[in-house]
């Protein structure tokens, strides 16, 4: 268990910058947004962020495109039928694990 002073300064810079990016807009922005365009934009952002993060990264998430594709397919079908987040997430992982024994 060692703690290097130089590493500690790096961590302080990392943590400081990351917190400020999160805190400043979230804390200072108090107005209710009225612009329909900006409101619509903000409404779509979370879905767009998640879609961009998931595709194509999901296919490289298990170290094998085949097992990842099986997991993704299972997640897609379960999500299509409105299953809870935890069920979809863990079933995808279990499917990828099982697929790993086949491929």
């Amino acid at each position: 268990m060692t703690l290097d002073m130089k590493v500690l300064s790096y961590i302080a810079v990392m943590a400081g910058v990351t917190y400020l990016i999160r805190m400043l807009p979230f804390t200072l922005f108090r107005r209710e947004i009225t612009s329909p365009f900006f409101k619509s934009f903000l409404y779509y952002v979370p879905y767009a962020v998640l879609a961009a993060m998931t595709i194509p990264a999901i296919f490289y998430s298990t170290g094998s495109v085949m097992t990842a594709a099986v997991g993704a397919l299972v997640a897609f079908v379960l999500a299509w039928f409105n299953q809870p987040l935890i069920v979809v997430a863990l079933s995808a992982s279990a499917a990828a694990l099982l697929a790993g024994f086949i491929f």
Binding site: M14, A15, T18, Y19, A48, A51, P56, S61, G71, A96
Partner: protein, 235 residues
Amino acid sequence: MRSPFVKGLYHGIPIALGYLSVSFGFGIMAVRAGLSVLEAVLISVTNLTSAGQAAGVGIIAASGPYIEMALTQLLINLRYALMGISLSQKLDDKFHTPQRLITAFGITDEIFAVSSAQEGKVTPAYMYGMIFISFCGWSLGTLLGAAAGSILPGALTDAMGIVLYGMFLAIIIPPARQHKSVLLVVCLAAAFSVAFYYVFTAVSSGFAIIFSAIGASLIGAWLFPVADEAGKEAA
């Protein structure tokens, strides 16, 4: 019904499990880069972000300048500023400056996505519950990965890599199935992301997500404006 804090904890379970597996990988990576277990855990408890931490460890390992560290974190985590503004529109009246200062620490892609997907406003207690369990998963995973990464069978840690993405699909598919507008935005964002991944490879992953998401959301807002919170169903 459950208290808001417990509801937040419950909604945070898949996030925490996903984080456990992702941060496990981060712990392994940090130790391989020459950091101690304590340093790896310290990064996770103070940063609570995946891409930024991974890039940060690379800079520490290369003894890069502090300004590079600051700029890299700024660019990779810029999306949190956007998410913060978006989430600020969903806050319950119980949110004052102290509650905002605390909750700001826990704005991550997943916490933002799950809390945004809630009907109506969110309370501080709900956010604290979700942030608390996610934070525990993230910190514990880092500790386990850093301390014992080589003990678990590889097949299991590999399969855990898909957990978070499975959760993402569970968040975006039901609304995309229901609303043509969300379907369009999701497909556009995915298409842009694929283009960045395979064609415009010079763009780093953080920027690729920002550009894809902003582009898709702008087109969505232009073609399908949402009237108000209640008008979501009509979109």
